[in-house]
Structures are given as C-alpha cells and as structure tokens.
C-alpha cells in the first residue's frame, strides 16, 4: 500500500518512523522544537528532540559524541552550506573515527541538509556541493530525487552505522509522489533506472533526474530512446548499473547542477572512461552548472543552470544528430 506525500513530508515520515522504532534516534538542530505543540516534540519529548543555537560545529560535534556513545542523531542543518561552517567535524572528525580507531567505534549520524535552492537565494544558499562530500572516505551520501526515495533513503541513512550526508533538493520540496506505507528502506548503492531506452544513457542526480526525464520525453518525439539512470546514493556509487546501461546504449550524457569540476558527473565520466571505454561510440558529454557563483537575478540564474534544452542538445550532440558546437 502506498500514499501520496510531498517529498519533504516523506523525509519527516521516515524520521518519525525510525524514532518510533528505535529510541536511540535523536533529532535536533536550529529553529525546530521551539514550542510544545510541534509534532516531534509531542511524540518524542524534549530529550530526543532539541533546538540548538546557531553553532554548527558544536551541533555536529555533539552528534559525533552522542553517536560514539551509542545514539543515532539526525542533525537538521537546513542548508548544505551551513555544514561548511563545521567542515572539521563533517570531513575530519565524523568519518575518521572508525578508521583511526582500527574499527573500535562507529559514528552513525545523519547530516540532513537541503541544497541547490536556485530560487533567487543568490550566492550562498544555492550551491550543489555533493561531490565534495562524495570524495571523503567514511562518509556516505544520499541524494533522493523522488518522495518514495526520500523516505526510503532517510530510513536507511538512520539505520546505517556510518555518517551519512543526506542531501535533499530544495526545489523538490513540494513535489508529490507515491510513498510506500510503513517501513520502507531503499538500499544504498543501488541505482534506479527511471526510464528504459536503447540509444543513449542519461545520468542525473536529485533535481536533475527530472530534467533528464523531461528531455527524454521530448527526445522520444524525435525517435530517440533515452535511458535515465538515477544513482540515488553517490557514495556508495552504483557504477555497475551505469556501465551496463552504457554498454547497451553506447552513449552517455551526464547532468549535474554542480559546477563542472566539482560535480558528481565528472567523477562518473572518469570511471566510465576507465571501465567502459569499449562500450562508448562517442565522447561523453556533461551538462553541468556553469562555473560561477549562482547569481540572484532570475534570467542570470537560469543561464548558469542545466535545463531540458541543454540536455536535449547534449543528447543530439552525442548522437551526432546535431552539429557539434563549441
């Protein structure tokens, strides 16, 4: 059985179910649980659900310590950029403890943060920093693109014994989708094939999955069958599904909202070039954000972002159905 929920509500449903299931799950952050009539406070009490000051380093550090001491904290960070304030804890503490201790301890925390809020939020609240976290051994990184995955990946993130950076896309916040009832776990490291096709593989993450699907619809009108792959977690990364798809289609277009050299797409491009070169009939094409700080003004913001037109053009280019430009 399933029910319809917006993406954001699906995330909260997962946290709620996990908190009901496991008393060691904590949920805290800034500007939450400030009054008694908030559902999480009501359900789980002030011990497990807490408001914190604007102290990201302390917030994440506390999560690490509580995790070392046996709890499973979920830290509400709102914006991925706010993790940058506490990079020591995110990059150089949480994911290091297990390795440095020779496997004695584990740090099961979830850092929940939104990203990519390209809706006029200008330069400091709009970034797509996913690949930055992807490159840190010890961190796992989930990037749900649907309401169902939003729920299932959060539940898995909370049960995982490692620090998980859970990145939900702000532009998907109110997107509705069918969400399985009750316990729903989406395994890490298993990509979803969102659309099957034989001519070209398009890989997107988070919000760019929908851009890829929109482009695929349009391309179908031209007789081009695109396969759309959504990795769902970028660490671990299900390279196998991507390689199998490329083996079938022979063509690869990668779509990422991030700036090019800090993108997941560049990592995938490198892996496919190394492990799937023989399958490729044309060079890989990447559609990424332009290398700029996200501007405030609407037409400028649209200019730097990937969109359906750019994906369609990239597919035409990789298939040789359009003249190669630039």
């Amino acid at each position: 059985m399933a029910h319809e929920l917006p993406y954001i509500a699906a995330i909260l449903e997962a946290i709620q179910l996990e908190m009901e299931r496991d008393e060691s799950v904590l949920y805290f952050g800034q500007n939450m649980a400030t009054t008694e009539n908030e559902p999480f406070v009501d359900a789980f009490g002030r011990d497990r659900v807490r408001v914190t000051p604007i102290s990201e380093t302390a917030e994440i550090g506390i999560a690490v310590g509580a995790a070392l001491a046996g709890f499973r904290p979920v830290v509400e960070l709102y914006m991925a950029e706010f993790m940058l304030v506490a990079m020591d804890q995110v990059v150089n503490e949480a994911p290091r403890f297990r390795g440095m201790s020779g496997g004695q301890v584990k740090v099961p925390i979830v850092l929940k943060a939104g990203y990519g809020f390209t809706a006029g939020w200008a330069g400091q609240h709009t970034g797509t920093l996913n690949a930055l976290f992807m490159g840190v051994p010890g961190l796992k990184v989930a990037v749900p693109s649907t309401a169902a995955d939003a729920k299932g990946l959060m539940a898995t993130a909370i049960r995982d014994d490692n620090p998980v950076v859970y990145l939900h896309h702000y532009l998907l916040t109110l997107e509705h989708g069918e969400v399985p009832d009750g316990e729903h776990l989406v395994p890490f490291g298993e990509a979803a094939v969102r659309r099957e096709g034989s001519d070209v593989t398009i890989v997107g993450t988070g919000w760019t999955v929908d851009r890829a699907l929109g482009a695929a619809e349009r391309l179908a009108g031209e007789g081009i069958q695109a396969e759309v792959v959504d990795p769902r977690t970028i660490a671990p990364l299900d390279l196998q599904t991507i390689l199998e798809s490329v083996d079938k289609t022979g063509h690869l277009v990668l779509v990422d909202q991030a700036t090019r050299h800090a993108s997941v797409s560049t990592v995938i491009a490198g892996e496919v070039a190394e492990h799937g070169f023989g399958s490729l009939k044309a060079p890989i094409v990447q559609v990424t954000g332009l290398d700029a700080t996200i501007p405030y003004s609407e037409p400028l913001e649209a200019y730097v972002l990937p969109d359906e037109d750019k994906v369609v053009a990239a597919v035409q280019r990789v298939l040789g159905t359009a003249p190669v430009t630039a």
């Binding site: 904590l26 011990d47 497990r48 914190t52 000051p53 102290s55 380093t57 302390a58 917030e59 994440i60 550090g61 506390i62 999560a63 690490v64 310590g65 509580a66 995790a67 070392l68 001491a69 046996g70 709890f71 904290p73 506490a86 020591d88 804890q89 150089n92 503490e93 290091r96 403890f97 297990r98 390795g99 440095m100 201790s101 020779g102 496997g103 004695q104 301890v105 584990k106 740090v107 099961p108 051994p137 010890g138 796992k140 898995t156 049960r159 995982d160 014994d161 490692n162 890490f188």
Partner: protein, 322 residues
C-alpha cells in the same frame, strides 16, 4: 568522596611513572626510527592525567587531543597496546591505523584523541548528552590545551553545556604555550577559567603539577557532575618539559633550569610529599618506578614482536557494516 591516602598516592605515583618512562622510551624510539610520524610528549604534565583519570570508571568517556599518551595510559589502556599502536602494529590499540595522535580504547572509555586542536570538545559534549539521555550518572571528560580555548567551538560547547546542564568536565592543561606560541600572543585573558566567566559554570584554577590538589579539585567536580551539577571547567597550570613535538628545536621559549624543574616536577613532588606524609617509603617509590620501567620494556618487546597489520584492513575500516 574517597579520602586521599597511601593507596591513592601509590597508585598515582605508579601511573605517573608509567607515563613518564613510557614517553621517554617513545622519544628514544622515535629518534631511532622505530616510531613514525609526529609525536607529542606530555613530560611534566603527567600529574593531571593521573589525578583525573584515576577517579573515572570505564563508562565515563574521556576525550583527548594530539598529546594523548598519558591520558590513554591513565584511563587504563595497556602499555603494550599503546606502544604497539605507536609502532604501527596489528596488535596496537587501533590496529596501527591511528598512531600517536589518534589513540582510542573504547572498552575502557577512552573514546578518542583528535589531531585538530579543540575538535574533541563538542564531541565530548555529545557523550555527556548521551549520559543524560540514558539517565545514568556517568560523565564525559575532555582534555585540551590552552590553545583550544580560542577556537570558536570551545565557546559554542560551553554555551550549550551550560544551557543544557550536562555532565561534562572540561579539563584544560594550561602549559602556557599553544603549539609554539605563548598564551600572551593568543589572548589578553590570562586564565582560561576567566574565558568562561560569562557562563555560570563551576570553575577552578589549580597547580596541575600538584597532583594531590588536582585530584581533590577534580574529585569535587566529578562528584557534583555525577549528581547533575555540571558542567565544570578545571584549569590545571602545568609545564611542558619537552618541545611541542619530538624534534622541536624550541627556540620560542626559555628552558627551565634543573633545580627549578626538580621543585616543579609532579613526580618528584609527590615522592617528597608522600614520604613526608608516610603514604609510602622511599623504597616503595623506587619499587614503583622500577615496576613501571619493566612494564615499559615489556611493551617495547611486545611492540617489536608484533606483526604489521595486513594492508586490506585499511579499506575494511572505512565504513562500519550497516
């Protein structure tokens, strides 16, 4: 609260000797190439580690920084496992993955040493929060130097610890130097305990080379923290005899002369004091030191005989199995 007497004095003396002799040996082994990496010794500061950790239980979590050998040993980590760790062996505390700056002995509540100054302070608060949530009377203790106090997250932690009244004891080993820089170049506030003055938490500054005074002060805080009276800050004024790291030329400060050091040395002080108080005899003290020396040599032998870890464990230790 336990009354200080012969049993405690002998135990503290033994712990201090174990740390002192262990670290002296570590210095030699590092110079001889048997121990790798950056090594920070706590010679001269052993009294604080001994006085604090000797009063803790295994379910009290202790966090330390890059100068952690003494804290780990005082918390009960076996000398042989610490030595093997420093030598990078499979039998080491962390199977050779951590080394000098990242000792962890989870079983004994030594939860971790971090190489980033002050990075451990908010983490320790997390352990204190965990104790509170479980409703048990265990506490979290974090050791840090005076350099960590100028880091923002130290202050974030003090605000939250006070606001939530958590069982955390902050133990500052103020040796007057943050790495290579004297405290006066870091702040105009002389006492670390004054940095937390705006917050209503219990705080004390003690002579950290006086192990009995440190034991007393920490014991009072500990008892109160177990009963919900935390957090606390204990500032221990101490003196680092060695450089910041082994090999540090130490041009940034003046050496203390031998006579002055003999007055300050926490081990010699406790020996004089203990003999005068009849807590132990001079012979007892010599026997304690000799036993420690034997243990250290046994640890060196153990380390040398231990195998290096298989390289595959590096990848195996990146993630915990879900």
């Amino acid at each position: 609260m336990t009354v200080f007497g012969g049993e405690q004095a002998t135990s503290l003396l033994a712990t201090m000797w174990r740390i002192r002799l262990f670290e002296e040996r570590v210095g030699q082994l590092a110079r001889g190439g048997e121990i790798d990496g950056l090594i920070h010794l706590s010679t001269g500061q052993e009294g604080v580690a001994a006085a604090v950790c000797s009063q803790l239980r295994d379910d009290d979590h202790v966090y330390s920084g890059h100068r952690a050998h003494g804290h780990a040993i005082a918390k009960g980590a076996p000398l042989r496992a610490v030595m093997a760790e420093l030598m990078g062996r499979d039998s080491g505390l962390c199977r050779g993955l951590g080394g000098s700056m990242h000792l962890v002995d989870a079983e004994r509540g030594f939860m971790g040493a971090t190489g980033v100054v002050g990075g451990n302070v908010p983490i320790a608060l997390g352990s204190a929060l965990a104790a509170r949530l479980r409703g048990v009377d265990s506490v979290a203790v974090v050791f840090f130097g005076d350099g960590a106090v100028q880091a923002g997250h130290f202050n974030e932690t003090v605000n939250l610890a006070t606001l939530w009244r958590l069982p955390l004891v902050l133990v500052c080993e103020n040796n007057g130097f943050a790495e290579f820089t004297p405290r006066s170049a870091h702040t105009v506030v002389e006492r670390v305990s004054d940095v937390v003055a705006p917050y209503g938490l219990g705080r004390l500054t003690v002579d950290g080379n006086d192990v009995v005074a440190t034991w007393d002060a920490f014991g009072g805080f500990l008892q109160s923290a177990r009963g919900g009276g935390g957090p606390f800050l204990l500032e221990c004024l101490t003196h680092r005899v060695r450089g910041h790291y082994e090999g540090d030329p130490g041009r940034y400060r003046e050496a203390m002369d031998d006579g002055e050091w003999r007055e300050k040395d926490p081990i010699l002080r406790l020996e004089r004091h203990g003999v005068a108080e009849r807590w132990f005899t001079e012979d007892d003290a010599r026997a304690v030191a000799a036993a420690a020396a034997e243990d250290v040599e046994e640890a060196v032998r153990f380390g040398r005989e231990s195998a290096f870890p298989p390289p595959e464990i590096v990848e195996a230790m990146v993630y915990a199995d879900a």
